[in-house]
Amino acid sequence: MRDFARLLERLAFTPGRNAKLDALADYLRHAPDPERGYALAALTGELDLGRAQPAVLRAMVGERVDPELFALSYDYVGDLAETIALIWPGDGEPGALDLPHVVETLQDTPKIRTGPVIADWLDRLAPSERYALLKLATGGLRVGVSARLARMALARLGGPSLEEIEEIWHGLAPPYRALFDWIEGGEKPERAGLAPFRPVMLSTPIDREGLDALDPAEFAAEWKWDGIRVQAVAEGGERRLYSRTGEDISGAFPDIVAHMGFEGALDGELLVRRGDQVAPFGDLQKRLGRKSPGKALLASHPAALRLYDVLLWEDEDLRALPFDTRRERLEAAVADLNPERFDVSEVLPFGAWDDLAALRAAPPQVVIEGVMLKRRDTPYMAGRPKGPWFKWKRDPRLIDAVVLYAQRGHGKRSGFYSDFTFGVWEDEALVPVGKAYSGFTDEELRRLDRFVRNHTVDRFGPVRALSPALVVEVAFEGLNRSTRHKSGVAMRFPRISRIRWDKPAAEADRIETLREMLDGGED
């Protein structure tokens, strides 16, 4: 438990994403099996240990410590697990228990007996390990490690690349022995499950000026739909719908999965579509929020895929083919699919960039957030290569920012955390760039409030500091230089245009993006 406790401490206090990655990679390199696998699963929330209830812990500590002294201490410390870890009598002995023993015992212990088991362990452990144990047992390990970050750390160990790891990630189970064997030079694990996720190809932003350097004849243009990017994979009877970070969201979209009667992997935009009409993003969010949607919702909010690309088709890997060829294959493939659930993203006809600009200025549907440009001769490449794919977003100015602080609102929002301070990345830290709230629906408001309460890392009076986990799209009218703000920029009329529950914090915008907008001189 000692090394795991140390890792938790480093992760908790290290602000930088890169430093977190270092800490994680360092631990994974040195910790033995199966400890590191369990640690990885615990950090990413893949381990279900039954969750000891706070009441059980309180009763446990009540037998060792005067309740009034405990109450005064808890009041001061503010965190139940931390208070118990510090106040528990005795010094224990560092390293007295190992993580696999703890995990396996918790998995095997009936809930009713966890109290005495944990009490016995607390007697044996040193204080920092007690904290790790209690966080583990209560399911409260919130140290900002996503499955994606964990995979990135694994890719730093000098074995397989991130893309290779992501390909086999689904189907692996804690403590991931086969994975670690592979990383250390052993054999690549057989795909434990069919229909794995393939890393997605992403675009980089561009503006009108940037386009002048490019030849329009070399690019295909499509609308950029305001849904969420997904990958639909069907292989050997297995069907899965993945978000673009590889999270499996099949369960929430049975209406799509039911019609995935093909062999292959398709890349597209997940939308709510009623006939030809693509519904606003909020409708899709309603679906995203339900892990298993009911009949009524499925009928009122039908999901559909607007396909951009084909990666595999009938046992053939098409990723190395140029875009134009893949596009032909895609059109042929879609012909056999249910048109209510699948259609192909239209290729926009244009000659010069100004033609495209005219199209972009008057999109046929409001759910379009700009245009995509794809170089006709390039293969499907994992990650965000610079050059082949561009996104040219519509106006106004939009950025994706990470919510840093939340404050309780007033009036209609009284008691809800609804006013947010958000920031963007500068190097490895988040720097605040603005404050806003938006006209959230009541349901969004409740969900946001729940999010805030579950992700609070600190409190200052009415303000809560949050772990960087929620991305919001902020729309604003312009940008001013500012010496008052640490970021050097101030937004005009910022508002949260939508909440990006689907977007990882690491992919929020960077301060450079804002500074470039300044340099663009539009303000």
Binding site: A12, D66, L69, L72, T83, I87
Partner: protein
Amino acid sequence: MSDPILIPRPEGLYCPQGDFFIDPSRPVARALITHGHADHARAGHGAVLATRQTLEIMAIRYGADFAGQRQAYEAPLRLGEVTVSFHPAGHVLGSAQIAVEAGGQRIVASGDYARVSNPSCAPFEPVPCDIFISEATFALPVFRHPDPAQEMEKLLASMRAAPERPHLIGAYALGKAQRVIMLAREAGYDAPIYIHGALQRLCDYHIEQGVPLGELRPATMDKAEAGGLREALVIAPPSAFASPWVQRFADPVIGFASGWMQIRARARQRGVELPLVISDHVDWEDLTRTVTEIDPAELWITHGREEALMRWAELEGRRARPLHLVGYEEEPE
């Protein structure tokens, strides 16, 4: 017990029979000072009695004319109708407990005190007394400060793990800064240690008083020079971290050495990446052990978490009262 010979007043503990205050928070005619921390030792008193080192520290901080008259404590002495004696408190260089005695009653005002070994001062001396006045800075059972050597090992391990990043450690100027330096030296760290300008004179004074600190260099270099600083340990007062001084260092690891660092929220509040639990006060166990050992007829409790210590006294069947003195900070500089 007869009427106590010390009375809590808003400006501090007052002794009517000797006409003096102990550690008063406002200027008074005659003050006895336990140690040089700013919330105990203030400038502007008519006359000050303290240990020679405390007087010298006050002169460094406030200028030679910090009081009308200065008297260095040498041996027990009579002030009016009481006898006063000073005893080591183990807190910082020059720190003392003050015992006041009259008519067979003895009260010990311990100021701030610590029981862990601190090479810059003599160890705490338990003085039998009727009333023991204790600080309660860390008087909650969650405060159990680890071995400071173990915390220093944490710092050195971090420096080894991230050799390209200078380590900037916040530490109060009197006592804590020198303590961190000494702990580094005891752990075998013998490279030069960089110190913020505000620490210079107090570090020099410690060296003069025979406290070995090794080679110290001023951390007043310009941005270019500091930006090139890699494997370096830099000590600065906490206030420096909010100032642009920090900007001269490239990608530093920010640490803070304090008993408060035991509480995660406290560390996060300060944006500390490397919390070091190094304290110059008694933790809960040392505090309760000391009271048990001295076993006074009555325990008076001053600055800090009085409630928890009151509760402990109640559970132990001890007489205790909180003093509610004003003007003491949680952990002063």
